[in-house]
């Protein structure tokens, strides 16, 4: 069975990518909210926010990229939920295919869709005056962190996708994830926050990820933030994968 894993995953990935190409609105919708936030914060609130950075859009983009991923992964839960609802999931399960390939196809589709949305958001940011001196290595490091973060959040999204009772339930889990960047260093420096809020903000994953991305974009030497960020992403990825795997096994046995 496992000898077909790669081939089966590729076939099923082709299927979900075709879904996306036939409803590109999912990619647009994913990109629209972060772009709206970016416009709002740069052109409305940004003038009053002191970040110590000469350009607010430069300061803001890392957090916007995190929000883009947080809103994009809910489509994984949505697509998985639709497969479970229709009979097609049971058809796949009763066929001689590698069983885990059904989930991996959805996860890889999420990666492709989210990376596309991220590219759209970065292009808009460039139009709004975002500039970076980061070289190829810097961009690769940024892409690496974003890929890891997308995979981690996507595996979280698999769990509600498999267990939800309704479409709304399948995507509701992502709201707190979208909200998390607001209590982090994504929009304003954490130094201005009152004690307990600041303590939370500085010790939650988004801050370390945003700081690491910001250092890479501004070509600062990346300090411990990048290792904290990688540890968070890796840790979430492993825990979410294990949970998703247990949930999946429960669903198919």
């Amino acid at each position: 069975m496992t000898k077909h894993f790669l081939g089966d995953t590729a076939v099923l990935l082709g299927r979900s990518l075709r879904h996306i190409s036939r409803s590109p609105d999912t990619i647009i919708t994913t990109a629209i909210m972060p772009i709206a936030f970016m416009l709002l914060f740069v052109y409305v609130f940004g003038g009053a926010i002191q970040t110590g950075s000469d350009s607010y859009v430069n300061y803001l983009l890392p957090g916007i990229l995190v929000i883009t991923i947080a809103s994009g992964i809910s489509y994984t839960a949505f697509r998985l939920f639709l497969d479970m609802q229709g009979g097609i999931f049971e058809r796949f399960q009763s066929m001689p295919i590698a069983r885990s390939s059904v989930l991996w196809a959805h996860v890889l589709t999420s990666l492709v869709a989210n990376l596309t949305s991220l590219v759209v958001v970065v292009l808009v940011a460039l139009l709004m005056g975002f500039r970076t001196g980061a070289g190829l290595l810097g961009w690769l490091a940024v892409a690496g962190i974003l890929v890891l973060f997308t995979l981690a959040l996507t595996w979280i999204a698999v769990v509600p996708g498999l267990t939800a009772k309704s479409v709304d339930g399948a995507s509701a889990f992502s709201y707190p994830l979208i909200f998390l960047p607001f209590i982090s260093s994504a929009f304003v420096p954490t130094e201005t926050m009152p004690g307990p809020v600041r303590a939370f903000a500085e010790h939650q994953p988004v801050t370390s990820i945003v700081n690491a991305l910001r250092d890479l974009f501004t070509q600062q030497p990346v300090d411990s933030d990048i290792w904290t960020a990688l540890a968070w992403c890796g840790g979430i990825l492993v825990v979410a994968y294990v949970f998703a795997d247990i949930t999946y096994r429960r669903r198919i046995s």
Binding site: G87, E90, M95
Partner: protein, 269 residues
């Protein structure tokens, strides 16, 4: 009581049945759905599992197609145990569930190619085109399945189940929700399947469907098979027919089919 009226099947059927089920039990929490089901289905035959809603028909099909585990009892499909040789069972079967298991966003042809690829067959395109022709879907091949009628969807669903020629096919309520013409189309497809040597186990709550299609009929009631036999044998369970004079009225179905039968819709084969 009906329980004692099971008719023993002919001996050659027991020798190498395509499906062998013995003492199957399954509970969901405190609800006992199956209380000891025994079935043997001969190769190349059509076997109808008849029962009311909630009788446990779908549970039997799900256990046989490795989607559910039984609590106790044995089930073998094409000679393989569903619990310990699930992968071999999946190679031998195909399942058409109660709700058409088709991908609405893909076209009909893409659905067929998808399944052919997942069954690791060569020339998935040729296989798809053959089946489209066989099920009169060539004209609609490149249309999204979301635009198909109920009958076309079911035909595509069954066509997808035939890819790779699995020796055993499960059809769970294949005509529920279909209009009379679509039902007849599905019946035709099922008959052709069995003529080709495929073993078909179908569940239904329509008595006339079992009467039309099945070589053997079993009635599942309150988690047990209460009778199992050919239509002829089942009829003999009741007292011999009395002769009465009845004015034979056409059924509404006769009327409907006569009135719409002459239509020239291109969907018709």
């Amino acid at each position: 009581m009906l329980t004692g009226m099971s008719i023993p099947p002919p001996t050659d059927q027991v020798a190498h049945p395509a499906i062998h089920v013995h003492g199957l039990e399954k509970s969901f929490k405190n609800l006992k759905v199956l209380r000891g089901v025994d079935i043997d289905v001969a190769r190349g035959s059509i076997f109808a599992l008849l029962g009311s809603n909630g009788a446990g028909k779908t549970t039997v099909v799900k256990i046989l197609s490795t989607l559910l585990r039984a609590d106790t009892g044995t089930a073998r499909v094409n000679g393989f145990d569903v619990a310990t040789q699930a992968a071999d069972v999946r190679e031998s079967i195909s399942l058409t569930g109660q709700f058409a298991a088709v991908d609405e966003i893909l076209s009909g042809r893409e659905n067929l190619v998808l399944v052919a690829r997942l069954r690791h067959l060569r020339n998935p395109g040729t296989i798809a085109d053959d089946l489209l022709r066989r099920f009169s879907l060539t004209d609609a091949a490149s249309r999204r399945v979301a635009t198909y009628s109920g009958g076309m969807r079911r035909r595509l669903d069954i066509a997808m189940s035939l890819i790779g020629n699995p020796p055993v096919v499960f059809l769970d309520e294949p005509t529920t929700g279909l209009d009379p013409e679509a039902r007849i189309e599905v019946w035709q497809a099922v008959k052709e399947l069995a003529e080709g040597g495929t073993t078909v186990l179908l569940t239904t709550q329509y008595l006339d469907e079992a009467e039309q299609l099945a070589d053997r009929i079993a009635i599942l009631h309150e988690g047990r098979i209460i009778v199992n036999g050919t239509l002829h044998e089942l009829r003999q369970l009741l007292p011999p027919a009395e002769v009465e004079y009845v004015e034979k009225q056409p059924t509404l179905e006769d009327v409907f089919l006569t009135l719409v039968g002459a239509r020239t819709d291109k969907e018709q084969r």
